[in-house]
Amino acid sequence: MTQYLHLFRRELQLAFRQGGEIGLALGFFVLAVVLFPLGVGPEAEILRRIGAGIIWVAALLAAVLSLDRLFATDYADGGLDLLALSAMPLEGAVIAKCAAHWATTGLPLVLMSPFLGLLVGLDGVSIALLALGLLLGTPALSLLGAIAAALTLGARRPGVLSSLIVLPLYLPILIFGAGAVEAGIASGGARPHLLLLGALSLGALPLAPIAAAAALRQALD
């Protein structure tokens, strides 16, 4: 257990000390959302209608952009080989890394989302549903993203490739996440959407590390 905490702390320290890493994903998130009112026009009615979807899409893209941080640097400097050789199972290392990745990208997105919700004119309930949905859904973004990040280690153009691989897998999260806010506006029945979002994250928690660890093993041998 202490190994996992050590790895988790190391990842957090790296993210904080290398500076800008967290800010970069967050900056992209905000900027991507800001693009839409400028693109589709500032009518409050349209923005309120599509606002939650925009924020979810921007969160997905920000998560994809930050995926290369998960394994690429450790793969390049050999840290990944040491992790594979250590006594801790590789699946556990993946979970620890995903937890750190979520704490440095997913969580900031969740915290930032209410302000962006205000920016596109969502009401209080919608903002709460948006933030709650992101809180439940972003762990799955990190976990599924780990599979793509591990598969594309050492590939040509890994960034484009991993987005091509992972975005289809992200679709259910987007559908239920944006659907929760939509259902909250329409009928107040957001509960099933949120439950399904949580189920996706909980399902990905044991399954995705297995796939990601398998991908890491074949990348390392």
């Binding site: 599979i147 598969l151 594309t152 040509r156 691989i165 289809p168 679709l171 796939a211 990348a219």
Partner: protein, 254 residues
């Protein structure tokens, strides 16, 4: 069976014998199926003649799913038992599956315009088939993204297994979400609800598609094996006589 066919030379021999009859059978069954579908089957009482798109659309959808199942099972074989032909089979099947998925999407779109009044709707069945198409593209892109081809094949195998979660979603999407696309009428509990006069042409078309898929799969696998052999021969020739020009290595495998 699996271990016996694991020898590429034996596979080439057997597949060489099987290939021509299989191809002829595919052509014959498709011809019969198309004749039945276009001339014999009655027009639908609601949809009229445009129901005939079904005979192209539905088997393409079946094969799109079946091909992914082949890719996934071959990938599992390759990862678990390191079966030498499994990776070749998976990579040979993926573009075929992508093509069937594309045919399914296009014919569905052409059918949707006169029947539903729209080329496309974001309903669950269509969206999940579109995701299947992107999974195929991701698989193909990943398999070809590495300088080390063996690495690409293994990475793609892992991805193929991850993508299997989409198959039940496609199959049951029309039951879970009540949307525009109609529910299953052939493979369902309690037997098909489609009239025999349309069911039989449909099943024969399905068989024709399946035979076509198998023929093309064998051709693609044989081509991949021949390419690998040509590469090996060229490499051997160039390392044996580095000064001499590389001879044109055209291996004949039968």
């Amino acid at each position: 069976m699996l271990t016996r066919l694991a020898n590429p030379a034996r596979f080439m021999r057997i597949s060489g014998v099987v290939l021509v009859p299989l191809g002829l059978a595919a052509v014959a069954v498709l011809a019969i199926g198309l004749y039945l579908a276009l001339f014999v089957a009655p027009p639908d009482y609601q949809q009229g003649e445009s129901v005939r798109i079904m005979f192209v659309h539905v088997p393409a959808a079946w094969l799109a799913l079946f091909a992914y199942l082949v890719v996934a099972m071959a990938s599992a074989l390759a990862l678990v038992w390191k079966h030498p032909l499994a990776e070749i089979a998976a990579q040979a099947a993926a573009p075929l599956g992508a093509a069937f998925t594309f045919v399914c999407l296009v014919t569905g779109s052409l059918w949707g315009k006169p029947m539903w009044g729209t080329w496309w709707a974001w309903d669950a069945r269509m969206t999940s088939v579109l995701v299947l198409f992107f999974l195929y593209l991701g698989y193909i892109a990943l398999a070809n993204a590495f300088d080390d081809m063996a690495r690409g094949a293994r990475a793609a195998s892992v991805l193929a297994l991850v993508g299997v979660v989409n198959l039940p979603i496609i199959k049951f999407s029309v039951d879970w979400w009540n949307t525009l696309h109609q529910a299953d009428s052939v493979f369902r509990m309690g037997g098909p609800t489609i009239d025999p006069s349309m069911l039989w042409p449909l099943l024969i078309m399905g068989l024709g598609y399946l035979l076509l898929f198998k023929t093309l799969l064998l051709i693609r696998m044989r081509t991949a094996l021949n390419e690998a052999k040509a590469r090996a021969l060229r490499l051997a020739a160039s390392t044996r006589h580095p000064a001499e020009p590389v001879p044109d290595a055209t291996p004949v495998l039968r």
